[in-house]
Symmetry: C2
Subunit: 710 residues, 2 copies
């Protein structure tokens, strides 16, 4: 007996050593970030550990559904890693205690389908829900609780989502590139599918499910028709098979002209019967391979993409045709409101409202219109889109961008929860005060049957998923807010930091502090006082001088309108009158340049260079002040980060520290570009508190041009 026990121990020891050595043989000995917020680092508090072990005797499933299996597997993984205990599964219905019990509630129970409750019952930890997905979400909630070393005494955790469709949008192309991706190439390996299923797909699903994300659009909204072919549908189905096990539905972006280019029809007119028949058949073909297919996402008549207007039809005509094809199924049609015409005299700000508000009430109930948070395009700061609140009969979903297209790619730390929250908390006043964007989106304001929050993914195939280690927090924050938009940016940052980076309280405080200020710092050196779109080319380098484009609204000067008098886009009645798209209460906030918060000032007003602002500074001095302090604040971020050193993984520490150095250099670049360029209009000296840039405007332009070369 003794010797057998010894040999078991010996084998365990050898196995342990061999994994240790394997890990050692690569250069990346530290935390490579792959595990995200699901690190399951061993519990260090012995009391808490003992408590957890009391419930490690078994997992009792309720049925054998595949999502339930995933929940069990995740618990097993978590317990093994957190408290080094293997838990086995049982389906026994006998009286047992000291384990974890999944309890599937009757469908008639009056709780949300996906909600869950975790409590102690009958000597077990019980996770109950009406759905397997709810059980899975409860499981992840329990594991989060344990990762944070919280006691199980008086355990009573409940959760239920405020929005029904919580999804990522991938702008991934069939060739593996990602439009606006800064974290390597696509996770989806189309040339290997369907036969080869990358193990990483499962870790992607785990990460999303842990946040409550229940949908994913795999391909770019500038969509390839390939995805409507049987060849690609079976590839998509292989991914959907993985997603399904984690309660995630798979969606596709569609190319509106596919009936012509792929189907060989003479037209893609949505009112043409042969076109309608083609889409019906196509959707049926998809459901044959993917019985729980989620639906279509459509970018139509936008930035050159084909759409119903090519045939004199409306967006509603196009969307309803697709909705008809989905009528036998659960799937939905998500139609993007991101449209604007190439009109030099128009204000792009107003375009989506003008096109979509007249269509309110004309969409099939299966259609959700997906609206970007702001009226233009994911700028570091935008006012909320005036569409929110103005389409009471049409479910409006919100689209946020996680990938840092306009936020410094993978080298600028920008915690985006501040952007998401700012928009969600904005009051539209459509039904009086308190009519926030969040209430529009969660359906409570207009009683939408279908509600949606979408995030344009920032994931790629780099080892840590997002490039910048801190960008993982943006994925996390989006997921958490899509589940519960009432969480605060700080609360989410606290959680994420504890799960992902460190259990050390002091280090966490410094990191959270850095995160919470990061967005304002970026705005200050990049687009202060309500400036926007100072780049064209690759959306990387400063180009406020850019004044030639294939469209008038594809220039930088279109947006900032700098001239000898002043700066900013007049959107009052004296200007484009875009403000009229908001309710009077909102207009009142932004109509008067003297009362407009400085953060939105140049979004709505053309302000004279010498005008005194509420700070007591002239516009020029205030601009310079913000650009300089923004760039200098990156040094503050560096100091904050350095204070956490030693209390988080060394590899992660170095990674972020190096990226902050890039950010510091580029922040100065941005500052210099703006100051020197605007100075040619303002014709004023740089305030004496600040050291003038070492570069000339011409030198900055030259250095920018390098990034525009092939």
């Amino acid at each position: 007996m003794m010797s057998r026990r010894f040999s078991v121990l010996f084998i365990a020891f050898i196995l342990t050593i061999s994994v240790f050595l394997s890990a050692d043989a690569s250069a990346s000995d530290g935390d490579d970030g792959y595990r995200l917020w699901l690190r399951y680092e061993p519990v260090t508090d012995p009391v808490v550990k003992g408590e957890y072990l009391k419930f490690s005797a078994f997992i009792r499933q309720s049925g054998k559904g595949e999502i339930m299996q995933s929940a069990s597997q995740e618990l097993q993984k978590g317990f093994k890693s957190l408290v080094n205990r293997n838990i086995s599964r049982t389906n026994s219905s006998g009286n047992m205690s000291g384990g974890i019990v999944f309890k599937l509630l009757p469908r008639t129970t009056s709780v949300d389908d996906e909600g869950y409750r975790i409590q102690l019952a009958g000597g077990n930890v019980e996770i109950s829900s009406k759905s397997e997905s709810g059980i899975l979400y409860g499981t992840f909630a329990l594991l989060k609780h344990m990762q944070m070393q919280r006691p199980l005494k008086n355990l009573n955790i409940t959760g239920s989502p405020k929005v029904r469709y919580r999804m990522l949008n991938h702008w991934d192309n069939p060739d593996g590139s990602i439009e606006r991706g800064y974290a390597g190439s696509s996770l989806w390996k189309w040339y290997e599918l369907p036969e080869r299923v990358d193990p990483r797909y499962m870790d992607y699903a785990r990460a999303n499910a842990s946040l409550g994300i229940n949908g994913t659009v795999l391909n770019n909204v500038n969509a390839s028709a390939r995805f409507m072919s049987q060849e690609y549908i079976v590839k998509v189905a292989a991914i959907a098979d993985v997603m399904r096990r984690y309660g995630i539905k798979t969606y596709l972006s569609v190319y509106f002209a596919a009936p012509k280019t792929l189907g060989g029809l003479p037209t893609s007119d949505p009112l043409d019967p042969s076109v309608r028949a083609w889409w019906k058949e196509k959707v049926a073909q998809i459901y044959k391979e993917i019985p729980d297919f989620g639906g279509f996402l459509v970018k139509a008549n936008s930035e050159g993409e084909p759409g119903p207007q090519d045939y004199g039809r409306t967006h509603a005509d196009g969307a309803n045709m697709l909705a008809e094809a989905f009528s036998p199924y659960d799937g939905i049609v998500i139609w993007r409101a991101f449209v604007y015409k190439a009109d030099p005299n128009a204000d792009r700000f107003k375009a989506a409202y003008e096109e979509f508000v007249p269509l309110d009430g004309k969409f099939d109930p299966k259609v959700i219109v997906q609206v970007k948070n702001g009226p233009i395009d994911f700028q570091p700061r935008e006012p909320f889109s005036p569409l929110f609140g103005n389409m009471p009969k049409t479910p409006l979903g919100i689209e946020f961008q996680l990938t840092q297209e306009y936020l410094g790619f993978a080298t600028h730390a920008v915690y985006e929860a501040a952007i998401f929250k700012e928009c969600l908390q904005s009051d539209t006043y459509v039904n009086g005060g308190g009519s926030t964007v969040a209430k529009v989106v969660d359906g409570s304001l207009h009683g939408y049957a279908r509600t949606l929050m979408a995030g344009v993914a920032n994931t790629g195939n780099v080892r840590n998923w997002t490039g910048h280690p801190l960008a993982q927090a943006n994925w996390y924050a989006f997921g958490r807010l899509s589940w519960d938009h009432q969480l605060s940016a700080e609360q989410i940052a606290q959680e994420w930091t504890e799960l992902t980076l460190t259990r050390n309280r002091k280090a966490r405080e410094n990191i959270v502090d850095l995160m919470l200020r990061s967005r304002e710092i970026y705005v200050d050196y990049n687009t202060p006082l309500g400036l926007s779109r100072p780049w064209m080319g690759v959306h990387f380098a400063p180009e406020p001088w850019q004044n030639k484009g294939s469209r008038p609204d594809w220039t930088a000067v279109y947006y900032h309108r700098a001239d000898s008098v002043g700066l900013g886009f007049d959107r009052t009645a004296a200007g484009s009158n875009a403000l009229s798209q908001y309710r009077p209460e909102v207009q009142k906030q932004w109509n008067d340049p003297d009362k407009t918060p400085l953060s939105y000032l140049l979004w709505f007003h053309h302000i004279g260079w010498g005008k005194k602002l509420s700070t007591g500074n002239t516009l020029w001095d205030e601009l310079c002040g913000r650009l300089y302090s923004g760039a200098d604040s990156v040094m503050w971020m560096q100091k904050k980060w350095d204070l956490a050193k030693g209390n988080l993984d060394a590899q992660v520490y170095t990674d972020v520290a190096e990226r902050l150095k890039v950010q510091r250099r580029e922040a100065i670049w941005w500052r210099n570009a703006w100051v020197l360029y605007l100075q040619t209009f303002a014709k004023q000296p740089i305030p004496k508190d600040f050291q003038p840039p070492k570069q000339t405007l011409d030198e900055v332009k030259k250095s920018v041009n390098i990034y525009l070369m092939r």
Copy 2:
């Protein structure tokens, strides 16, 4: 004392556990392939382990050079992992035994600069070389020896490279994409450099140095001028700092028109003094940041790239201008011979010879002309390029392609050593029999002072570097052959398999068998009997019918010349007479269709459909036979692979097994495309032994067209 010892053990145990658990928390529990052939799996033979431990007392360096430091670190890593022993370094010159000693030989010793010897001396393992690089190569040779669990008794290993410049060419673009890359995006993260230095750069360097590769060209030959800017030079310098520690020099591809586009000069004419001055200054600027810079690689007047001919100058004029700029330095100019004009009446086969042979003797000694192995473009099988042997006064380097542009991307298993060896062993007969391409390339035939072997890299940022796990073998084989072209394909496959996949002899035999036959199998279903270039578009799907292109030689029909009479490109005197570029002895092998080996038949002859071949079959029957047996042989590969199951890592097993399924499906696709298309000319039935394709030609074309869509 006892309790202190216990606590040390306890801490070690906790550390071990924590790494074990970390590894467990990700889905990829198996071998993810990241370690390549440097796995350093624990030695399992206790006798051998004991022997190794006898030499683990210390490492004695010779000096403190940084390459020497890398060698020490690698030994430490290896010993830790192989025999679980920490070795410390010493610089003591006292008499010590039981360690490993690096011995730097005087420069006057008559051995090759980079060569090494490993032997037992004074109770130590002694690694001696004239250079630090040699010590590093010896170190890797010792570690390989240990990975293979070979005894140290009578240790006497020597090595020295046959070629001086052994390098990878990366076709990586500044945006992170890779031209013809199938393993994710670029390893080089230009937006993060120079501040952030990805730890993976070091593992890349280690892998290359372990093979003796001593140079790397970081960017695509379709080069961006960005790399000539100070902004990018400092980024390149940050990578060069890592490479230098492993004896690897960094090179750049250059855009010939950079003086105009980047420098703002009115011309890029190589004879213009201002252009010459610009390049001189540019090279000086690079050396200021990278003191050991390797040199330039140039694709000029090729496929639309600018070059000296834009100004009526020759390739020699262009190359010599750049060589002049390098005259104060060690760097060299590598000028590619991959040129061909868009002439519908010309034979592309002949173009490089026609342009370059007249320039023999006109190049600066610092120039090496880099020639692709075959006359066209990295086809699954090509005859050797007729340039080899025909430029005795000009050092000719050889360029192989590791990335599988024409070899099925990342889902077809093709062991390329067979391709490399076939070319290197080819006899040019230029100085009589035995004048092999290898002897041209290694300089022994014409006394070249500078010799070069280049491989177009198949690396990307996917975790296992190359996509297909077996494609790692192609990187390995190229490196080994660039060091010693006399190694056989089998020898290399044996080595690689043992180091990378399994120590089990039987499993190795099956895998090596699969590898050695893989190239002929691919040729059989892809381009049998000397066919070539049946694809245009993305070089993925079969397109033998493709007959429209922006250039006449950018069609498939240009190459196979199928008509009602027969198939193949007549390159005899009756045809393009390309054969005349070879020596008479070579012509004799390929001139007569009845004597031409079948593998080269259609490269040189237009053969009637009904002609009886040496096999006794007509051309049509032989073609069908090869296409069918090629596609079916993938099933044999699957069986071979399955026989190794259980004797190699499960994750790697599954990965390859799934890719073989894709290969099987696509091999049938290829077979069907060829058979159905050629049947429209041959007008003969498919031989009765074979089951006719289930698809029609039209269906195959449609399925191919899907892959040509946006």
